[in-house]
Subunit: 424 residues, 2 copies
């Protein structure tokens, strides 16, 4: 049984590798044709898709999943139409493959071009969102990569129905049917096999909770691009415009508190804390935010008085993903930077200041993927960057950092043109 | 004891992380000053360095190492002068850090800049070459990275002496002394600890034999950039200029057979095999190359007659690193491409042809880091590319592929300038 499973996964990877070599050379128009066919098939096949989804929803209910969890699993005709539209949008994006990134000629006459090419075979490990199968498949396809998808068991029937539709769109438009394959089991042993196939699979992208990502990172011999969530900081400098600071803080904390680029902590410059913190805190509390304060900020809010709690040590490195904000007072910009570089997750940080030298010092020294000056942390996002799509937001440093769009799903190769040169 | 070792390595990594945050913001002139001081210290301290090296050489002799292995370990005043010169050369290279890679403004007015920054902390695991400690230290330093070095036991005393010298150069020029640290033991347990410190160390580069690289790749939870050796192919097309093909083949196979970008296999187009192979084979045999032939090429050489051996199956995927060349006849370019994509290691391949369409098809479809047209495979090299230095030749696809110079030792971050923008 386990040997069968290993053989099955290996065979999937071998076929993905073969498909990837074909995909890497296929012109843009043929990839787009497959995407547009898929966009047609999604609403056309809505009955089957919704029936498969209904099976997952019934299982979820039987297994006692919470209402908001079940809601996350569910499809609807409107959601399918939205999904089809996102497929058309990816088809309309420029093809990243084949772009010349650099082009130079050596003194010996060799012309060297650095050319963007697909990574090859990408394994995507994800959990229970029904749109991920389509999202990942289309981004991999557009960027010329073969995809091996391994979704969560809660959404297995839905994923299987989507995968069948993708295979149909590929076959109908003459692309390799193995370009996108779903592992037809959620058995952990299959995942373990996949994570060791480093001669066939070139990159693993885990999408989901921290424990899934950690499991993948610890068990994979294939390079992993991790998408951990964020502990993002907003530093309000002594030279901040307070109206702007309030606006940015409210947006960063409350617009969508459950996402990775939401703010989790406020650092307040001591010189203006007594004046500014009551105003900022009042605005946050009015939006339902619970403040977890260090002694200095607590002392200020106590005087006002304004609702707040004493922070525990763990709050200063916590990702709340909720209407909770840790608050600390710092004596200067240097301490703000050092605090961030020690306690943040390196995802996204913001400084609010009218002092351009302070902003430049902050942007130089803060070691995070995105460092914003006078803008919400929420802009660390592929769409907001203008990438047109994103497969996630990388918290790694190698290969891709921050929003990962189509370009980041590619690598490069060097193409050298000579006239008989040899090395001496 | 083992707990002490783990604590020691963890402390090294923590100090490296702290040093990396300082290094990332240090101006070019200060990094160069440290490098130039090191270049002075190497010849000035030659007595101590050669004494340390003599201890390693004595151990090597006592342990019965072969003469060529001992030769690889040995330093001399001339080698030290050469090493000092390489340090001066790296100091003279442009600083990769801080370069703006992209710069655009979004419709909402946000200006986004993609800026090259150091990776952070890089762990380099290597074996017995005495120059690697200096080479890796200076490339990491120039690119603003902190380095943790773990060398082989055969060269331990030499490495320790070099590391002391680097620390002195750093201290004398006011750079963090922890910017470059040597793990002061070759105990495997220390390496195992290092490979799991993924919150402190951002990248591992193993340099050495395949078994070392494999061990590191399988045991590291830190991203690894692998530098496997190469199984490189030369394909002689039916439209090849035979004089050029002979020149390129001889260079690729015999100029330095023990390196990763040397050719290991010849694919010969069937249409010209009967005419061309005897000539090419005679030139190779005259240079002492042993040919391991498939039946088709053997049949041709039998008629000439010319010395050759029948290839075993393993020869067609072998890295000989010696004056041995596998030879096969292929019916067409498509088969050449498919053979390479199946049997090569994806390092470097070359086509020899006067047909530009054939060259373009080959360069499009061959899935290797470097694909050359009418040039020797030996050009896959950081110096030959004009990078001025290289830390190795990556056989990975993510982050760096092919020659890795200073730019490839960097990642990027996004710096956003706003005027109060929030997400709606």
């Amino acid at each position: 049984m386990s040997a069968d499973l290993a053989q099955l996964v290996t065979s999937i990877a071998q076929r993905a590798r073969a498909a990837s070599l074909v995909l890497a050379t296929i012109p843009t128009a043929r990839k787009d044709a497959a995407l547009l066919r898929l966009a047609e098939l999604i609403p056309a096949d809505s009955t089957e898709l919704l029936a498969a989804n209904a099976r997952d929803l019934a299982d979820a209910e039987a297994n006692g999943l919470a209402k908001h969890q079940i809601e996350r699993l569910s499809l609807s005709p409107a959601k399918l139409e939205h999904l089809a539209e996102s497929v058309r949008q990816v088809a309309a994006l420029p093809d990243p493959v084949g772009t010349t990134l650099e082009d130079w000629t050596r003194p010996n006459g060799l012309r060297i071009r650095k050319r963007r090419v697909p990574i090859g075979v990408i394994g995507i490990i994800y959990e229970a969102r029904p749109n991920v199968t389509i999202d990942c498949a289309i981004l991999c396809l557009k960027s010329g990569n073969a995809a091996i998808l391994r979704g969560g068991k809660e959404i297995f029937h839905t994923n299987t129905a989507f995968a069948a539709l993708i295979t149909r769109a590929l076959a109908e438009t003459g692309l390799p049917a193995d370009s996108v394959q779903l592992i037809p089991t959620t058995d952990r042993a299959a995942l373990n096999t996949l994570l060791k196939l480093d001669t066939l699979v070139h990159c693993i992208i885990p999408r989901g909770g921290e424990s899934l990502i950690r499991f993948v990172a610890q068990n994979s011999t294939i390079p992993v691009i991790k998408h951990y969530t964020g502990v993002c900081f907003v530093y309000v400098d002594k030279a901040a415009d307070l109206a702007m600071a309030e606006n940015i803080l409210l947006n960063a904390k409350t617009q969508r508190p459950g996402v990775c680029n939401a703010a989790e902590q406020l650092l307040m410059h001591a010189d203006i804390a007594a004046q500014a913190l009551p105003r900022l805190a009042a605005a946050l509390v009015a939006k339902g935010v619970q403040l977890r304060c260090d002694p200095a900020s607590a002392a200020i809010l106590q005087k006002v008085p304004l609702a707040h709690a004493a922070a525990a040590a763990a709050d200063f490195t916590a990702e709340f993903l909720d209407l909770v904000l840790a608050v600390r007072v710092v004596p200067d910009l240097e301490t703000a930077v050092a605090t961030i570089n020690r306690d943040s997750s390196g995802h996204t940080e913001a400084i609010v200041t009218e002092d351009s030298a302070a902003a430049a010092a902050f942007q130089l020294a803060v070691d995070s993927a995105v460092v914003s000056w006078n803008a919400s942390t929420r802009f660390n996002d592929g769409f907001e960057f203008g990438f047109g799509a994103e497969i996630g937001i990388s918290t790694d440093r190698l290969h891709a950092r921050g929003p990962m769009g189509l370009n980041e799903l590619c690598t490069y190769k060097y193409v050298i043109d000579g006239s008989g040169q040899v090395r001496t």
